[in-house]
């Protein structure tokens, strides 16, 4: 028996050795390596790499991390001798983890391209990460269904179109009346499923929570930078808990799916419901366009896709805009050779300033960039990106920045998501959710 087990163990270990040896490829010192965060853009980056090598002769290796696996992939890739030369961090919290690896980009051309220099991540006078895409989220709605509702003879709301909705109470009135008439409108529910499956709850525990928490910090006096203030805050009072509850209840009670079943719904499920016309509204951002347009049997017309701000009943919400910001920052690995660092920067400068590069960025990647190298007509062409730039250029509206970059940790967000699921299933009261959120913030910051 013993011998047999021993021989088995030995056989297995040789197998493992073979596999690990096969895994080590050759490495070239002048090659640059970009670890891509966005799986939906993987194919485009391959194309860009090919084009870039044709134009400049520099070999660019692109590896894409699977969705939700960027940190894991980066942790293992960066420890290798053939480490990524360009990688991405998700904001100030991500910078704390990776500060040993970020090169100072203060004197780079890429930094000089940035229209709003405050957007970069700075530390001790240096500039360590630069955002490359601006995104926005709000309540996406299907105007065809909304028009149908506003044409109903028995509608209770006296508004005439969805674009007139500018407060939470108006939104609530319209949504609840739509639910009452959902059979006439041919929908299963006003809002697509509030996806609360594990890993699929970021639209609520991160994006939605941003709205009340940002306002809480914005209310404080003498604040220079809300993000930095939030990053330093050991505690939150979470005073807009009720507002968060109001909008969350509205989502839950007027949904395609029954509350108790939301724990197994994914983001893809709710985007499909929206694309198939089963729901009139869904909270998401401009990146969702590819998901909406990619659904088979899609009934939503491009011209009908519009976006509303997320109203939660705050003061002066008539001028509230959508949430605009980024969690995509590029950093250069300072532990690779100088030649690689130089070439990596050259590549990024090429991508964001040359004609060919810019074309890829706007047309194929669909990014709205924060760089001044892009003129106003160099914008992506999808309906949601157009909505984002409409809000960005509207001087009367105050858009909400993405302060969730300063939330304490992934564990905090996860805990909030778990609490929201418990609430949806009726296992916890809203007051308990409030306690969980404030306690977890405190314990994660210790």
């Amino acid at each position: 028996m013993k011998k047999r087990i021993l021989s088995l163990v030995l056989a297995l270990s040789t197998l493992i050795l073979n596999l690990s040896l096969a895994g080590c490829g050759g490495k070239k010192a002048s090659e640059i390596y970009f670890l891509n965060f966005k799986p939906e853009s993987a194919a485009v980056y391959e194309e860009i790499a090919k084009k870039y090598e044709e134009e400049t002769g520099t070999k660019l290796k692109v590896v894409t991390a699977a969705a939700n696996n960027y940190e894991q992939t980066l942790k293992s890739e960066i420890a290798k001798s053939d480490a990524p030369t360009i990688f991405q961090i998700n904001g100030p919290v991500g910078y704390k983890a990776w500060d040993d690896y970020c090169l100072d980009l203060k004197d780079s051309k890429l930094y000089s391209f940035l229209s709003d220099k405050d957007m970069a991540i700075k530390d001790d006078g240096g500039v360590f990460a630069i955002p490359y895409v601006v995104e926005g989220y709000g309540i996406i709605y299907n105007d065809a269904i909304m028009k149908k509702y506003f044409a109903l003879p028995n509608k209770k709301s006296n508004l005439k179109s969805a674009s007139e909705i500018n407060t939470f109470s108006k939104l609530k009135e319209v949504v609840e009346d739509m639910t009452a008439n959902k059979d006439k409108l041919g929908i299963k529910g006003v809002f697509a499923s509030t996806s609360l499956a594990s890993g699929e709850d970021w639209r609520w525990q991160t994006h939605l929570l941003n709205v009340p928490l940002h306002r809480e910090f914005a209310d404080m006096k003498d604040i220079v930078d809300i993000g930095l203030e939030m990053l330093d805050a050991d505690e939150i009072s979470y005073k807009y808990s009720k507002n968060f509850g109001d909008i969350f209840d509205l989502y839950l009670n007027n949904s395609v799916t029954e509350k108790t079943l939301l724990g197994s719904k994914s983001v893809a499920d709710s985007m499909a419901e929206f694309a198939l016309g089963q729901a009139a509204m869904v909270q998401n951002g401009n990146w969702a366009w590819s998901q909406i347009s990619g659904v088979k049997g899609n009934t939503v017309k491009e011209s009908d896709i519009k976006m509303l701000p997320i109203y939660i009943g705050l003061d002066d919400e008539e001028t509230q805009g959508i949430c605009i910001g980024t969690e995509n920052y590029l950093a250069i690995n300072k532990n690779v050779s100088e030649e690689q660092q130089k070439k990596s920067l050259e590549f990024l400068e090429w991508l964001f300033s040359s004609e060919t590069g810019k074309k890829y960025v706007t047309e194929k990647l669909g990014f709205i960039t924060p760089f001044n190298t892009f003129s106003e007509n160099e914008l992506p062409n999808d309906p949601l990106a157009k909505e984002i730039s409409r809000y960005m250029n509207d001087a009367e509206i105050k858009n909400i920045p993405w302060s969730f970059n300063a939330f304490p940790s992934e564990a905090f967000k996860k805990e909030v998501g778990n609490a929201l699921l418990d609430y949806a299933q009726g296992k916890k009261k809203w007051d308990e959710i409030k306690t969980i959120i404030t306690n977890k913030w405190k314990s994660e910051r210790d």
């Binding site: 690990s20 420890a79 940790s409 778990n418």
Partner: protein
């Protein structure tokens, strides 16, 4: 008269020894070292003493919850898997029709990967629970029993094959002698069959105990710890500690070391206990 194989033993063992060092011993020692440090990647570790170990039990309640959940899971699944697998093995070693077909059918789930199985069972369980207005995340009990059903479904076939091999190895003359002496079914089972298959029981218990403790992919795919990390087992908890919190890598590593020690102790105790019951055949 020295055996030539014995003389060249070092040469024969060298390649595998190197492999064993690279793929097991070195990572293990490195992991042990990292549990005393604070690090982001393995190359920038800073020594912090035993504070990681203290934090496991003071700051972070998830580990103890996960450990308790894992123990509950392991006890029930080890018992049920072995009982059912042994019963099936007894049935399928009788001269019944189609035994070969059944053996194959029972063994097949073991050939499917854990992630796939997890998603398949998630769909099945949700399909049933939806009718009652629940989903698998509605209560930790659903997740718990879901995991047990899943684990049974996957492991029973494998254990059954090991038991069948053990039962078939019992010399027929012993069984016949028992029959002649007038032993009934019960006596035959407890006095002859079970003692004779003790080696199989040792190996099956070892496999099921360690697999139940180390369960990861099935847990990740079926519930991913939902609701509220209450169905999170230790392996998944270690993974989440390591990856979802900045600055918790060392603590994750320390949890892994503690977990290793616990599993090693349990497995060694079990081996000792069942080995002592094995007959020298």
């Amino acid at each position: 008269m020295k055996n030539p194989i014995k003389r060249y033993f070092p040469i024969f063992v060298l390649p595998t020894l190197i492999a064993f060092l690279i793929a097991f011993v070195i990572p293990f020692l490195l992991g042990f070292f990292l549990s005393f440090t604070e690090f982001t990647t393995v190359s920038n570790a800073q020594f912090v003493g035993i504070s990681n170990y203290i934090k496991i039990f003071t700051e972070d309640a998830t580990f103890l919850n996960a450990l308790w959940f894992t123990i509950k899971f392991a006890v029930v699944s080890v018992l049920s898997i072995n009982l059912i697998a042994f019963t099936l093995a007894l049935l399928l070693t009788r001269s019944l029709p189609l035994t070969k077909l059944f053996r194959t059918v029972f063994f097949m789930p073991n050939l499917i990967g854990g992630i796939v199985l997890g998603y398949i069972w998630q769909v099945i369980i949700n399909g049933v629970l939806y009718n009652f207005g629940y989903s698998i995340t509605s209560s930790e009990n659903f997740g718990y029993w879901g995991l047990i059903i899943l684990m049974n479904w996957q492991m029973i076939g494998y254990m059954m094959i090991i038991y069948i091999a053990g039962i078939q190895n019992i010399p027929t003359d012993i069984l016949e002698a028992a029959k002649v002496d007038g032993a009934n079914g019960r006596t035959t089972l407890f006095r002859i069959i079970i003692p004779s298959v003790m080696p199989s029981i040792t190996i099956c218990l070892f496999l099921t105990i360690t697999n139940s403790f180390k369960l990861f992919d099935q847990n990740l795919a079926l519930t991913a710890g939902a609701p509220g990390e209450r169905t999170q087992m230790v392996a998944l908890d270690i993974y989440n500690t390591f990856y979802s919190r900045v600055g918790y890598e060392g603590i994750g590593q320390a949890k892994a070391v503690v977990f290793f020690i616990i599993v090693a102790i349990i497995a060694l105790l079990q081996l000792r206990l069942t080995r002592s019951k094995e007959e020298e055949a």
